[in-house]
Subunit: 153 residues, 4 copies
């Protein structure tokens, strides 16, 4: 299918995935189960990191982002079938961490169905400790966002 | 297996599930994937609602709790094999909503591995709108918690 | 993204979904976990039934297909990122049942990564028993397949 | 909770896991979704391999079992809440492969709810090719099964 046009609600989002709702994403309430939203936000984060060239540390080796916290506010129920737009943007940077925002937009409802926030820490899986976000990574993130990023509070 | 003893970190939690980590809960980083924590917190919420006699509305019929927001702070990585204690408590009540807190305790690490918060709205799936938490439900929740519950801010 | 062209390996398949591999579909072995293939085959079956107008019985009410058996032969490991083509076809019909075949094709590997078979029974969820496949449904399935369907052995 | 007593239907099964049904294992039909059965059988296989001392190759390194084929026959619908007994046994051995059988028993229904078969290949993830099952592994498997294992057909 062709990608749906990007709506104004996502105009400021640098990374947007187009994603189908699966029938099996629904639970016994007949709507998409809450855990699926976190899988979707993860997919948008991973795509963001891929584009930023941030190491996708596999199997506890090397350095990569680790999730420290994630939240989702559910605005609307989602059902199969539907096509979603799932976004990720970096909103602020700390010494070893970054904050991201996510939106999940329903093409059938023409509305944002959920909003999320996540905090990631750049993590050395060998040493099992956080590492500083380098100037090179800061520059790449600013380039993707099209602005210099504020410091995390 | 016998249930592990309840640690002091969960002493104030009325509902505690004992739960095995599955090998397949792990992702390509070799630790339990973030979405699994939300499935665990859901299981503790559902058990809480079952004990509270709050209707488990199925398939968009009748009245039951709907998840409005959920957050998880990840403190420690979890791996297979491990046995977890997963808790739920109601911390405050609104007119149509309730706030819950969750802790996920690792028996092998003898530490709280994650903490969560969720906001539930009592929802009429037929009318598709929130309904007030009745005095009867308020009394049942206070009985489970062993205290009168403060109003949600 | 545009749909990849349909390869000769799927030329005889009436229903073909285009599907992204999610990072989180991978397990601690670093490849897509086996259970995900069954979710994909389910999605192709559901789409087939939707096009065939076979009732998608929800929540144990009404009549719809129920899965009696499913098998998957894994030919190649799949990794993120990749785009898949996932097919479903009905291969034979019994009095109350139908057999389906599935193929999962990797666009990046240009090869069939897995093949599956499933047996579905048309089920009356209210009465909790199988019901006969009507002549009307048989005609719709034959129309989708472009041939009259043999009897299941 | 205490483990349920082992029923006669599982008397010949060397590895049996006790497992809770999660509410979220259910789909929009209101019963446990088919993919969950494969996650359960995987958990029983992994526990079997752990007891057999067969390397749990992580992240495509070293040698470990890889799933070549798996099938599940669904006998009964499962719902939350329930406690399951999930078994694994090795039924035959090939040069580089082994066949396993699985049963999923419902404590609430006092019946086998599903039966499965899987074929595993011992795989060198570095070289990406099958390796022969050693005499040492054959002896360990025979010890767990309490009999010498027939050759796979």
């Amino acid at each position: 299918m062709p990608d749906p046009p990007r709506p104004p609600e996502l105009a400021d989002q640098p990374i947007v995935l187009t994603w189908p709702v699966q029938w099996g994403d629904q639970d016994a309430f007949g709507h998409v189960n809450n855990v699926v939203y976190f899988r979707w936000m993860e997919s948008a984060r991973i795509e963001y990191f891929r584009q930023a060239g941030i190491g996708n540390a596999a199997a506890q080796q090397g350095t990569g982002p680790i999730l420290a916290s994630v939240k989702c506010d559910f605005r609307r129920q989602l059902m199969y079938p539907d096509t979603l737009l799932i976004s990720a943007s970096v909103t602020s940077l700390g010494r070893t961490s970054m904050k991201m925002a996510h939106r999940i937009y329903s093409a059938s409802q023409k509305a944002v169905a959920a909003e999320g926030d996540s905090t990631l820490v750049l993590f050395d899986y060998d040493a099992q400790r956080p590492v500083a976000v380098s100037d090179e990574i800061r520059a790449r993130l600013a380039s993707i966002e099209g602005r210099s990023l504020p410091a995390s509070k």
